[in-house]
């Protein structure tokens, strides 16, 4: 009976001391201790019980509770075959693309739901070249972009335009920018002549 009373008193004392320790050492409610578990055991005052106490098991469980965050650790070394089966399993293999089409413009292959990478690359390169010229002003110096309409010209533009015009005129259908369609019959009375050609 005396031993029972002593046991209860000691356990109550230990519980209160533990609360004090946890609050002092822990970062807050439910947080792991800032100091390692062993150090916290050493910080317990001597009044709790000197030497190996017969009721020391609760302290071990508390230590275990504090170390719970360190428990996610491998117990055994993964063997080479096991590691290989995991790394080179069928789930990790590269899958072939099933949805491939050919670009109508350049003939390169791409996925159906994407745009052709080659064509995009060409457009991107040209866009960056144009942007480099457009954005050649320094706003930190107070320079501003030109607020006037822009025409982008390429080399040999005029030559090519001249070539196209000559080709069209040679075909005979276009004269002075107007396409002429010759009919092999007389004009009917109900088909009136218009002042301006139709667009």
């Amino acid at each position: 009976q005396y031993s029972q009373m002593l046991r209860r008193a000691v356990s109550r004392l230990n519980a209160t001391l533990d609360d004090v320790i946890r609050q002092s050492l822990g970062g807050g409610m439910g947080a792991p201790p800032l100091a390692p578990a062993l150090a916290s055991v050493a910080a317990v005052p001597e009044g709790a019980g000197a030497g190996p106490s017969p009721l020391g098991s609760w302290r071990v469980t508390e230590m275990v509770e504090q170390m719970r965050t360190l428990w996610g650790v491998p117990k055994y070394r993964t063997s080479h075959p096991k590691k290989q089966t995991r790394k080179f399993a069928y789930t990790r293999l590269l899958t072939p693309f099933e949805d491939i089409t050919t670009c109508e413009q350049c003939g390169a292959k791409h996925e159906v739901h994407t745009i052709c990478g080659k064509c995009y690359d060409e457009v991107r390169v040209l866009t960056n070249m144009i942007k480099k010229k457009l954005l050649a002003y320094n706003p930190y110096k107070g320079e501003r972009p030109e607020a006037r309409p822009i025409e982008i010209r390429f080399t040999k533009d005029e030559i090519k335009a001249e070539q196209e015009r000559v080709e069209e005129e040679r075909k005979g259908e276009i004269k002075d920018g107007v396409r002429v369609i010759e009919m092999e019959r007389e004009r009917p009375t109900w088909f009136k002549r218009l002042e301006k050609p139709r667009p």
């Binding site: 790394k87 080179f88 990790r92 293999l93 590269l94 072939p96 693309f97 491939i100 292959k109 791409h110």
Partner: protein, 274 residues
Amino acid sequence: MLARVVSPSTTRSLLTATRRVSTVTMPSNEEEMMPRRPMGGREKEEMERAEEWRRRACLRKPVLQRDLQVAPKVYYAPEWDLAKKANDDEGWANPLKGYGMTPEKWEHYNKVVWPPGYIVPETGLPKNREVFHCRQSIHYSPRRAWYACQLVWRMNVDEALVQLDLQQIKASGILAEVLREAKKRASDEFHIEFPSRMHVAEAFPVQSNIIKGARRHAHEDWNEIRYRYINLYVRLEEGEGPGNKSREKPKDGWEKMEEYYKYLRARQIKNSIG
């Protein structure tokens, strides 16, 4: 009556199931109900291909050493110096240590000459022409390069190139270049008329050497980095691939049905009289 669903074969991926021709003889009344139409060119081609790969797959079945019959040497090959080490290193060539593929060994296969129109006696089919190609000292991890090689293994060359060009890993770009080189070699060096009709029979990386470097971690903790270099080996073979990446052809519904019938018919009443 069995409703047979014939799946159309796709040209895009060789991994989908091909048409199956049954070897089971059908009863007479069923034959009347479902008259067999004459096979078109494509069906015939596929049947021939399936039959060819079935015969070739039989060669991979393990055989007892005493039942094994070594084929006589009907090919010509230049002499291989066994006394020399693979890398032309100095020292005695230990036969127990000289295992593994080297670029010299791979290239030696290209020098083998078979008789013209040679028919392999085990399969009864003509021997397909092969092209062995290798690229050396690629700075890439062999384990990562393995994934790209597995993707294109047993695929038609053109299809393999299309797939590799779209993949996002570095090894796929390198492997695509190697396959293009091999194709070029096939047409120029080996005078193969249609290099596009070849398939990638083998593709694998082998580590050639490691260059060691150092890397600093926190608290002046230095560790070693391994820069791995690989040799990419590629073998192109004429004809179409088997259509699957396993040793044996995976069973389709019809074959499984036949197996099930076999099981049902093999049942016996145990411990009965007679």
